[in-house]
């Protein structure tokens, strides 16, 4: 679907909660397997990522309203998929876009104009991340 046909709610969802493709992958992993709760090592081994990356994604996602930290534990706790009812449809659409139009999803995530605070903080990154 062309950019403009991406529903407004989905674009809002991305703008508010999703900063990177990695977060989308973790979110969709949790969503596809709901109501299972995942630990950091579960996610890391499922996606074949290093622990640190998985942990960072899960922590960032749990700050929003899409993923909830279910319990604490030695390994850093478990996380589960916990969207608000209004977000479920948007996430289903997100899943569809991820499966059929991944490049479009990349554009939606990375091409938004960042907030001034974000730009301020990013200015102090001496070498830049890819995509900037």
């Amino acid at each position: 679907m062309p950019d403009l046909e991406v529903p407004y709610e989905v674009r809002q969802l991305i703008a508010k909660h999703l900063e990177s493709m990695e977060q989308v992958e973790v979110l969709l992993l949790l969503a596809r397997n709901a109501p299972r709760s995942w630990s950091v090592s579960d996610v890391a081994s499922e996606l074949r990522w290093p622990q640190r990356g998985a942990q960072q994604c899960l922590e960032e996602l749990s700050r929003g309203s899409l993923v909830r930290r279910a319990g604490s534990g030695a390994g850093g706790g478990t996380y589960e998929y916990a969207p608000t009812p209004g977000d479920r449809d948007s996430i289903a659409t997100l899943m569809h876009i991820y499966d059929t139009r991944p490049l479009l999803l990349g554009r939606l995530i990375y091409d938004r104009p960042p907030t001034v605070a974000r730009s301020f903080a990013d200015a102090f990154r001496i070498r830049h991340k890819r995509g900037e």
Partner: protein
């Protein structure tokens, strides 16, 4: 020779400005959760404290030499913030 009153006024206004800036940085930390803003908030609080030294030091004009420690701490905080940002 600048008048003490004028210097006091300018120092006070500058200190107030630093405090307000620090408040904004705290707000930006709350929305972005980027630690850089905490470093900047601390730095600007220290810069404000340096200007307000006159409240605790009787012989504050010209500035006592040890005051540089406060300013140094402020810029170390900024440097540490930039370092932290580029470490990851």
């Amino acid at each position: 020779m600048g008048s003490i009153v004028l210097v006091s006024l300018v120092s006070g206004m500058t200190a107030a400005g630093f405090l307000v800036a620090a408040l904004f940085f705290v707000r930006y930390f709350r929305t972005t959760r980027d630690a850089l803003f905490i470093y900047f908030a601390v730095a600007f609080l220290l810069l404000a404290a340096e200007k307000l030294a006159m409240l605790v030091v009787p012989d504050w004009f010209p500035e006592p030499p040890w005051l540089f420690i406060v300013r140094l701490a402020a810029f170390i905080a900024i440097g540490a913030g930039i370092w932290e940002k580029n470490r990851a």
